[in-house]
């Protein structure tokens, strides 16, 4: 099987879906000849032309709003938000329109679209090129929120997202775009939106993570294994709607939960996972539900020492897991 980077997998998914369905199109800033600032759309302009690979005006609100309109008409837009940080101008269209259209029209109108957005820090991007934005959307019924952690899932989940009849926010861990490599079959495959994945079985504690943090969690688990600590790692993958069952079953097995994300701690996505466990796995718990997350400051700072202070990494995960295992 060929090895691909995460960003290649994303590109391949779009290519295949555009080839499969002529209603699929790509729209965003610099997605055309430039091939996207992260090169996620490279080659698509040459292959499918400017009518299906549209360099939008520099305006996220209308990238999303126009895509919604096209979706209402029966198209399948893939809207790229250049950096997740720049999704906020489009908030109204996402939250008030895309998410609520099906419900508010009693199913008469639907918005089959994908919003792709690279997210996350550790790349010297400072406050505005590093944000994790999932918690703004994992609270909005009508949306689906998906974050892949490896090339296989990225391709399979993105293809599923394009075929999903509902609006999907597809967040890509940009630090992993070229860093994370993995085997991706040439044959067509899909990864279903919905189920979390047990990436690694273990018995001492469960680590819940996604995106880049899943990558570090796997590395930490390996380290811990050498120390005799058996960590189960769950890749949440589809953050919303959340896969309660996989989460609760894992905690039942291990009795301990460590939830990891790079977004700010307070109000972050981890709170929901902790709350689910605290309510529905109460009698299974052998220790407090532990969250490890970014600190509650307004952003990831640029200067290197400060950036490292902010970021969750392999070491910090291993430390937290060690303490929890020893509880």
């Amino acid at each position: 099987m060929p090895e691909k980077t995460l960003v290649e997998a994303v590109r391949d998914a779009m290519d295949e879906e555009m080839a499969r369905d002529e209603n699929v199109f790509v729209v965003g800033e610099d997605v055309g000849q430039r091939g996207g600032v992260f090169r996620a759309t490279v080659g698509l302009f040459d292959k499918y032309g400017g009518e299906r690979v549209i360099d939008s005006p520099l305006a996220e609100l209308s990238i999303v709003g126009v895509s919604i309109g096209a979706a209402l008409y029966g198209m399948k837009p893939i809207a790229e938000i250049q950096f997740g940080d720049f999704i906020f101008p489009a908030m109204n269209q996402i939250v008030s329109e895309a998410a609520k259209m099906t419900y508010r029209s009693n199913g008469e109108w639907t918005v089959p679209m994908v919003i792709r957005a690279p997210y996350g820090g550790g790349i010297g991007g400072g406050l505005y090129h590093s944000q994790s934005i999932e918690a703004f959307f994992t609270h909005v019924p009508g949306l689906k929120v998906v974050i892949p952690s490896n090339p296989y899932d990225a391709k399979g989940l993105l293809k599923s997202a394009v075929r999903d009849p509902n609006p999907v926010i597809f967040m890509e861990p940009k630090k992993g775009y070229r860093l994370i490599r993995g085997e991706v079959p040439d044959e067509e495959f899909l990864v279903p939106i919905g189920p979390a994945k047990i990436s690694r079985s273990g018995s001492d504690l469960s680590i819940f993570a996604y995106g880049m943090m899943h990558y570090y969690a796997m590395a930490a688990a390996e380290q811990l294994e050498k120390e005799g600590i058996s960590a189960e790692v769950i890749d949440l993958r589809t953050l919303y709607p959340v896969d309660r069952q996989t989460i609760l079953e894992s905690v039942k097995r291990t009795g301990k939960a460590l939830i990891v994300h790079e977004d700010n701690l307070t109000g972050g996505y981890g709170g929901e996972i902790a709350a689910i466990i605290a309510e529905h796995a109460f009698t299974d718990l052998d220790a407090p539900v532990r969250r490890l997350a970014g600190p509650d400051v307004p952003g990831v700072p640029f200067s290197h020492p400060m950036q490292e202070w902010f970021m969750v990494n392999e070491e910090k995960i291993a430390d937290a897991a060690r303490k929890l295992a020893q509880y």
Partner: protein
Amino acid sequence: MGLSSEIKKEMYWMMVLSRKLDERAWILHRQGKIAFHISGIGHEAAQVGAAYALKRGYDWVTPYYRDLALMVCLGLTPEEFMLSLMGKVGEPSSGSRQMPSHFGLRRANAVSHSAPVATQAPHAAGIGLAIKMKKEDKVVLTTIGEGSTSQGEWYEAVNWAAIHHLPVIFLVENNQYAISVPPEKQMAVPSSADKACGLGLPGETVDGTDVFAVYETIHRVIEKARSGGGPALIEARMYRITPHSSDDDDRTYRSKEEVDENKKKDPILLARTRLIEEGIITEQEADEMDKKAKDMVTEAVKRSEEAAYPNAEEASYPVYVEEVQHA
């Protein structure tokens, strides 16, 4: 101008029927039978003129809450409107999930409208984009109040349509108020149509109390757009004869004299006088139309009162769909 007497009469009928529906809504509100009404009284000429310029059921519309007469022309029945006022089963836009006047009618290509003003404008641009991509000869009409053109959302939508030369007609219904706020506090140009010059599309103002003038103008720009001539921005000027909604008390910000003065330009009176002058209808026929409309409305109220409320549990869906609704 090419409108047959038959059609003119029909247009007048649509205005009358809408007015009677609207007036009855106010009465129902006073009787405590409904909780909320937002009125289109004074807007009928603009909306009926615009509707008749469309190929109804073929072209697309993204309407706004004041468009009762437009929706009636698109086939919204008196009973359906009454069901929406009462929040009953059978309401077609939302299954009574939304407040009244949050229009939407799938069978007529009229997209579900929400409450945050201006969100419908980017949808229209997106529909226009899809029409262009599919090389069809449809157009899309989107309506909005003059106050709501202050939203960046509207600007971005018009900008898209202008750049991509999309078959979108932006109709601004300028009724001199955004709740209590006059146009001078919304814009520094005399007319919303003046905004066109900064966006690179043609703009025009038309007397929104003259149903045939509106028809003529909108028909012209629609047919131009249909044949690839690009978008247009039309402002129809009228006066909001009623308070903003049943929740509003307009005496806090305008005088009775001002309102009374403007009632002289009631578009239905003007159309009636004109059609009688032109010998298309007689006084008696006009009176009969009034009566017929009233009777239809009474019947619709009766049936709606008999209709059931939705079951509480219906509120639990549809959050997601399994299949796309196709255009």
